[in-house]
């Protein structure tokens, strides 16, 4: 089954998972579900049902209820404290099997519909001073009602800022009589649900669906929009709410240093297996076309730059290089790997400064014969009676250095090929939050193939060497004839290159060997590996617990535990599955 036939991205959330999310929201932000005038808000008494919370709510001194004005008693200065509590809540997506709908809502649940069930408890506190005391303490009279509602889902907002909305169309409180009172209360509940509670739940679901795909502003941006080529979007079916989303635009601008830099924490990657069975709470799929957009952004986001020095035999080299990636192709395979082929490495800057020692250029030192006088010690017939070695004279006091600046920017053709396997890791943070990471682990070795270096590089290098020698002599004050003389002694540029400097005929390949030996190519591959295996996952990781509602004043943020995330690749799409924890 292919999830992404009609969109770039497919995201489905299961009702059981959403109910777990609702439960987490109730525990972490109880004031969303409890309203009344009973004080103090951090520990109201008496109430109808105990309010369960997580310890952080109490530690942060968060209110358990949303404070309301007391109910006035007409024609008196008196007021009555009251409380209204949403004590249970559940969502059931078509075909509906989480709870039974009352007959008034015409069960079974219709296609593309969802149902909600809430238990609402309310109570009124009678003041002891108003009536003869019936009890020793202030007590509350409570009643509880079961509320059922059905509705549909939609996507609202402009592309890039879209959210999933849930809208109630039918509501029923079975036990409530008379009917007119039921109608009045249902009207109130309908408004409270559509305008108050469900938008919050919709926000939580939208966070799961959209925000988990969003990129932090610091490292890029992604623009999403709902697909319009499917009949229902979102679709409510198979106990899931399914959203079909397209990627309109994605850019990555990862900083050269690791995103982890600057923070004091570290993340240790571990693996976790699923401990739940059945349908995943969250299923997301990325089409091959969507991956191509991400691949293009990832390729575009890679920038390599480096400068430094090195040695290549007797030559010292300083370099300044910058490169980016272009083109290439990818293939998603059913064995779970992604193969990247012929990814061009474009050398935007490849400047070398090659330091060369030139000989001292000495003349003289001949052996001459003084008995009999003869220009050499090899005197015909009589031989040399006394042989003398003449002094030698050197043009330079020591071996002078010259620097050959050669700019090979754009002159080397090279490409990278490798395969990678998508894996998920659970990153245990030290000083930073835990996180799930989806990592493309490149299969080593990574190969960089040097295809070509421009043919004219050899002539360029020779010209530069000749110019550098001439410049050296000129700057040292040598007249033109002396420059020609020294060049004559050196035997011409080919002799300098081949004999004096011992550079092989193919200067282009010699330069490639030099670049290779001083580590530029391996640095690029190392950075590329780091980019794929460390920086990209760091950009796309999901913190655990995952925040679905932001901190609001003193109200703590609402976070849900991500119990599991898994990923697999086939030739059509990348599928990511996850579970919400209890």
């Amino acid at each position: 089954m292919t999830f992404t036939q009609n969109s770039d991205i497919y995201v489905a959330v299961q009702d059981a998972g959403i109910n777990r999310v609702i439960n987490h929201v109730m525990l972490q932000r109880p004031s969303l579900f409890n309203y009344g005038s009973i004080l103090p808000v951090t520990n109201p008494r008496p109430i109808c049902r105990d309010i369960r919370t997580v310890p952080q709510v109490v530690q942060a001194n968060n209110p358990l209820i949303t404070s309301m004005s007391p109910l006035p008693v007409i024609q008196t200065p008196l007021t009555l404290d009251y409380i209204a509590q949403l004590t249970k809540g559940a969502v059931d997506f078509f075909p509906g099997n989480a709870f039974t709908l009352p007959p008034e809502l015409n069960p079974p649940l219709k296609n593309q519909q969802f149902a909600v069930n809430f238990e609402i408890c309310a109570g009124l506190v009678c003041p002891l001073s108003t009536f003869p005391p019936r009890r020793e303490r202030r007590e509350i009279d409570c009643f509880c009602l079961n509320l059922f509602a059905t509705g549909g889902c939609g996507i609202t907002g402009i592309p890039g800022k879209q959210t999933i909305s849930m809208n109630i169309s039918g509501i029923e409180i079975p036990e409530l009589k008379p009917d007119s009172m039921e109608t009045a209360i249902e009207c109130y509940a309908l408004l409270a649900l559509n305008r108050g509670i469900l938008p919050k739940i919709g926000d939580a679901i939208s966070s799961l669906v959209f925000n988990s795909i969003q990129l932090p502003d610091t490292i890029g941006s992604i623009t999403l929009s709902a697909s319009t080529t499917v009949p229902h979007n979102p679709a409510v079916e198979d106990n899931q709410l399914k959203a079909f989303i397209n990627i309109d635009k994605i850019t990555l601008n990862l900083p050269p240093s690791s995103p982890g830099n600057g923070s004091s924490g570290t993340v240790t990657r571990t693996t976790r297996s699923r401990n739940r069975a059945g349908t995943f709470d969250l299923t997301a799929a990325l089409s091959s076309g969507a991956f191509e957009k991400i691949y293009t952004a990832v390729v575009k986001g890679f920038h390599f730059s480096k400068s430094g020095t090195g040695n290549f035999g007797p030559f010292s080299v300083s370099y300044e290089v910058a490169a980016h990636l272009e083109g290439g192709s990818f293939e998603m395979r059913d064995d779970g790997t992604i193969v990247i082929k012929e990814l061009d490495v474009k050398w935007d800057k490849l400047k070398l400064s090659i330091g060369i020692d030139i000989p001292k250029f000495c003349v003289g030192g001949n052996d001459v014969c003084v008995l009999p006088p003869w220009p050499s010690c090899d005197v015909p017939l009589v031989g040399c009676g006394k042989c003398v070695t003449l002094p030698s004279f050197c043009f330079f006091e020591d071996r002078p250095d010259i620097t050959i600046p050669i700019d090979l920017s754009g002159l080397i053709t090279s490409e990278v090929s490798f395969s990678a396997r998508l894996e998920t890791f659970y990153g245990v943070g030290s000083g930073v939050p835990n996180r799930w990471q989806i990592v493309a682990v490149p299969t080593l070795p990574l190969d960089l193939d040097i295809i070509d270096i421009a043919d004219t590089v050899g002539d360029l290098f020779k010209n530069l060497v000749q110019d550098a020698i001439d410049d050296l002599l000129k700057s040292a004050g040598a007249p033109d004839w002396a420059i020609d003389l020294i060049n004559g002694i050196l035997g011409g540029i080919d002799h300098i290159i081949q004999v004096i400097l011992d550079i092989p005929d193919d200067i282009g390949e010699w330069l490639i060997d030099m670049i290779s030996q001083i580590g530029i190519f391996k640095s690029l591959l190392n950075d590329l590996y780091d980019y794929i295996a460390v920086k990209i996952p760091a950009a796309l990781e999901i913190e655990d617990p995952f925040q679905v509602l932001e901190k609001d004043g003193i109200l703590i943020p609402v976070k849900i535990p991500i119990e599991f995330i898994g990923v697999n690749v086939n030739s059509h799409e990348i599928v990511i599955e996850g579970d919400v924890g209890n």
């Binding site: 003084v370 006088p373 043009f395 006091e397 360029l460 004839w481 003389l485 390949e509 290779s516």
Partner: protein
């Protein structure tokens, strides 16, 4: 390092055996054993001195130390006026009988003369050599660098010659080729037409009093080409294609993590 060109090698002044400068040397044979003193002159001024001990030695004879058959003496290193004071090199030399002293000037623009005296017990030292006047058996060697035409004269006699130093051609200049020898005798120079490559030495063998000068008459210069066009603008990239139409890989760099 910053290269320091020995510009004195490129000097164009008249070469004079009596005023020894860089790129020239004088070979003098000392036959008798004894203690000798050398005095270095800069013009008329004494600027340095040295001791030379000539030890009687014949090849194969027993000796604690074998005296050298050749001693090179750098006059510039002995020039106290230049602050040398002996610290540039030794001021005492040894030589075997019949050995050669080679006087030369390693660096600098100065021109020197040298006199050698043999020390006699309770007698005035006897001058046995004066570089201003070369004698029988002395050899003067000059490396003439500057291309052009030169006039050679023996200012102590009548000898004349013409020297042509060829312009250096890239790739055609041989290093350390044998000198060209010129004999100075009987008021003549033989040959009287000499052609050398730049840096090729001219070796004057004297059989009479001589002081050789080599004076530049007509320098030869040639226009030099401008800097090579080290531009990439015209460079065309060609991708090497293998026989099967596949890209040929020049190098494969593998990264193992």
């Amino acid at each position: 390092m910053k290269p320091i060109l020995n510009k004195f090698m490129l000097r164009q002044a008249t070469i004079d055996s009596g005023s020894l400068a860089v790129m020239s040397s004088i070979i003098h044979v000392i036959a008798e054993q004894g203690e000798y003193r050398g005095i270095v002159f800069l013009g008329e001024q004494k600027v340095g001195k040295f001791a030379l001990k000539v030890i009687d030695y014949t090849e194969g004879s027993q000796a604690d130390a074998v005296p050298p058959k050749q001693t090179n003496i750098d006059l510039a290193a002995l020039d106290n006026s230049a602050g040398a004071k002996g610290d540039k090199g030794s001021t005492s030399f040894t030589l075997r009988t019949g050995g050669q002293v080679v006087f030369y000037v390693s660096t600098g623009s100065k021109e020197y003369a040298v006199e050698i005296y043999r020390l006699e017990k309770q007698k005035e030292p006897i001058k046995v050599f004066d570089s201003r006047v070369l004698g029988q058996g002395d050899i003067f060697v000059a490396h003439v660098m500057r291309p052009g035409s030169y006039a050679i004269r023996n200012v102590k006699g009548e000898g004349r010659a013409h020297l042509k130093v060829e312009y250096p051609e890239r790739g055609k200049l041989a290093l350390n080729i044998d000198p060209v020898m010129v004999e100075c005798s009987n008021g003549t120079m033989n040959p009287d037409e000499v052609k050398v490559q730049s840096v090729q030495a001219v070796m004057f063998s004297c059989t009479q009093e001589s002081r050789i000068t080599i004076e530049l008459k007509i320098p030869e210069d040639r226009p030099r080409p401008g800097p090579s066009p080290a531009t990439l603008a015209s460079m065309q990239k060609k991708e090497k294609i293998g026989e099967a139409g596949q890209k040929a890989i020049l190098r494969k760099i593998r990264f193992f993590g």
